[in-house]
Subunit: 363 residues, 3 copies
Amino acid sequence: MSYTIQAIADAVGATAAGDTALIVTGAAEPASAGPDDIALAMKPDFAKGLPEGRARAAMLWEDADWQSMGLSAAILVKRPRVAMAGLTRMMDTGQGYGRGIHPTAMIEPSATIGTDVTVGPMAYIGPGAKIGDNCVIGPQCYIGTDAEIGTDGTLHSGVRLMARVKIGARFIAQPGAVVGSDGHSFVTAEVSTVEQARASLGGDVTAEGQSWIRIHSLGAVIVGDDVELGANSCIDSGTIRPTEVGNGCKIDNLCHVAHNVKIGRDCLFAALVGVAGSTVIGNNVILGGQVGVTDNTTVGDNVVAGGGTKILNKIPAGRVILGYPGVKMDTHLETYKLQRRLPRLFEQVAALQKAVFKSDQND
Amino acid sequence: MSYTIQAIADAVGATAAGDTALIVTGAAEPASAGPDDIALAMKPDFAKGLPEGRARAAMLWEDADWQSMGLSAAILVKRPRVAMAGLTRMMDTGQGYGRGIHPTAMIEPSATIGTDVTVGPMAYIGPGAKIGDNCVIGPQCYIGTDAEIGTDGTLHSGVRLMARVKIGARFIAQPGAVVGSDGHSFVTAEVSTVEQARASLGGDVTAEGQSWIRIHSLGAVIVGDDVELGANSCIDSGTIRPTEVGNGCKIDNLCHVAHNVKIGRDCLFAALVGVAGSTVIGNNVILGGQVGVTDNTTVGDNVVAGGGTKILNKIPAGRVILGYPGVKMDTHLETYKLQRRLPRLFEQVAALQKAVFKSDQND
Amino acid sequence: MSYTIQAIADAVGATAAGDTALIVTGAAEPASAGPDDIALAMKPDFAKGLPEGRARAAMLWEDADWQSMGLSAAILVKRPRVAMAGLTRMMDTGQGYGRGIHPTAMIEPSATIGTDVTVGPMAYIGPGAKIGDNCVIGPQCYIGTDAEIGTDGTLHSGVRLMARVKIGARFIAQPGAVVGSDGHSFVTAEVSTVEQARASLGGDVTAEGQSWIRIHSLGAVIVGDDVELGANSCIDSGTIRPTEVGNGCKIDNLCHVAHNVKIGRDCLFAALVGVAGSTVIGNNVILGGQVGVTDNTTVGDNVVAGGGTKILNKIPAGRVILGYPGVKMDTHLETYKLQRRLPRLFEQVAALQKAVFKSDQND
């Protein structure tokens, strides 16, 4: 594909300058850009790489002096990553899954397939499933009985939507993602070790070991519009009512959303996040990589949890947290700073003891 | 499906009261229950939602005054989650994989298939594999060479059993689960950086970088009866002897069980748990979400580890632990409480220094 | 298969002693070894199990007195795990995927397939893909448009290589691994809560919730030679340039390598490791299980991070680290030791206050 500088500027909502009819065929970092690439140098630091490359055009920051950089054309952007979104959307050539229903795909007669739907090789669409218009069901995907997906969705290779899940419009699922696996919900006939541990908060366990009885998942999953789910991530079905993921949520690779969890709109989870059963997550919540959230708790709107945070308690709206357990980030940093000063404190107390008690018995 | 209140009470081992011939077709939370649902309100708090819904029957706690709630019938249960197990098992309509061998499935002639086995679309069963009676091998599953699975197993879509794994009866594997991947076992020709780090416990590393030589996995995996494995979870093969998972273990999504690990019976792992190589886990061990267990250690029977715990040492039987490193939960909570009081302690020591040494040089 | 003791000694580069023509058919731990197994007892402790088993030959440590153990033959090794590498490579019977192109595999006409390539049942190879000589593409694998893999690679069942990824020679991917999923890269139109949290380092968030705009991944992935990728692990595509994994890296199960990450050569990641976007990892870096590395940081050559470490800052070369946040291991252990002594310190300060201020008001 080829694009004029003006077309790119229009796509990213920015100003073009210089030879705006100049044509590029790709984007590159400044130092590795060829003459047909637009160089991406939205910070002065990045622009230093321009002389090493051969770009004739660059995407730069808002008030960049592009003429001084030896460029023929420039696009000047206000919010670089927003511009990146427009540029990359424009230049994305996709996975090349082809169009139409592949002859090796298998679609049950009772499934409903919208218009302009692509179904890739060896994909399977089960009885009663409903696939919205313009969806791409990638190679080797599995769509379960009575599962539904709205318009304009893309399931990459090997995605599995289990029975009765309901998914909104413009869903994107990366390879191997699973929606609607059974919840991990078990009970023992008598009081179990874990119930005893929770009740005693820490004493040793004396309960006898027992076998686990399975609680089945009847509730499936409801996923809103504009949701993205990462590679090999899993969303479990609810027990009685569906597990819910709100509109606009973006969930990274290898995340786990347990049964009965309810996630609001526009949340962003980084990779390897786990949310345990029946927990409620508000709107616009951001969970860093490897964050864990315990079961049956609440995380308020706009909470931001730094990478590795383990949320063991209810978190009020708007809080920025870090640590294990997750506490206010400034509290965490203060505690951490004091911990680094502990060796000195121990010395000071030893000196005080010596002075006050004429003793050097400090251990 | 439809069920009388009496039939449900019988299935969950509880007492029915009122119009026990009343028929329901589903279960629901109290506030959203329709007239054909049994409302689930096993705690007084949940029962408050009954007036918002339209249920004529409810499942309630043991001595609930159901007549005062405007219900026609009730089921009174002693241990709510045990009742949930019975109810959800009764009402589970399953994935609808159909019955029999799907025409697009591929079964090698040397495989042995039991009676009443279902093999879904595009599933593959390799040479010498043995599938027990009544098993359901879901769509797009892979059963490797000489792999064996006992009776009444269910492999959901996309499960992969690798060569020579042996699995007991009533196994349930969620989508994308893998049993028998190669162990991650490597060695360097000379002493490596990690060996040096372990020996020195913390000094900087000076060993030269080396390449890794692969130790192959000859030992496959043995899984007992009544085991459940979560979506996209992985159990690696042992090096010489098999990795072992005991009867009744329930492992959630995205868990990792490394080569040579030996897990006892009736353990429960929440999601994103990792157990490193050659570690031995006892019976009835409960590991919360994102718990990690180091290699070559031992976790005793009945241990309960809270979410996020990192087990870096041997843990004796019956211990309830939390933290990184995992220590007795009450020790952990005490240390944590003292940490929160550190700012005050630093102030007190500064005041003491001033009083004793007439100095305010505390930093 | 059967092997003489001499042949095994040759394969592992060690010395054979006694009846070196003795034939064994397998390897076993000492106590469970039969007469046709070579017992593996490379430490004196392990050799204690020999009398319980029936082995006639054993692999022992360098100066073991094998004659006193009632053995007919022995192999004496210097570095046991290196010997294990040779032995297990020799005895590995593999997955038994067969040879050649399976009739149910689907290969697009524009793909280039090398000589002696195996493509398993229901595997799919997309347009323009290039598969090197001697590769094994396992059952139900997916090879995307224009993806390339070098010679002698093995993709186990269900591996997914997405469009345009480039992979070197001798690649091994365990079941369900994904290379080239889209990066998890999003931006809001205006300053987001997470940007505000990063800027303020801990104050509560007041920014309004916004929707996320997707940044597409144009850069694919470049993987070097001799790389191994674990089951259900994921490597995301870069935004503009490719995500890079260097020669000789060994990545365990359920790991996440985010967009734009650059990993040097010969790194070893244990399971459930996550490396966030645009981070640079040096050569010979070892990350223990569940280690997390934040985005846009640098980890120097030869760094060793213990299990569960969360790397939140730049780490210099050669450092051995542990903890959350990850700090020098000896600093971490010292801090940890002092924490355990905090209860005593609080008592000491209380006693000092009483003595100095004649006060017992310490709380």
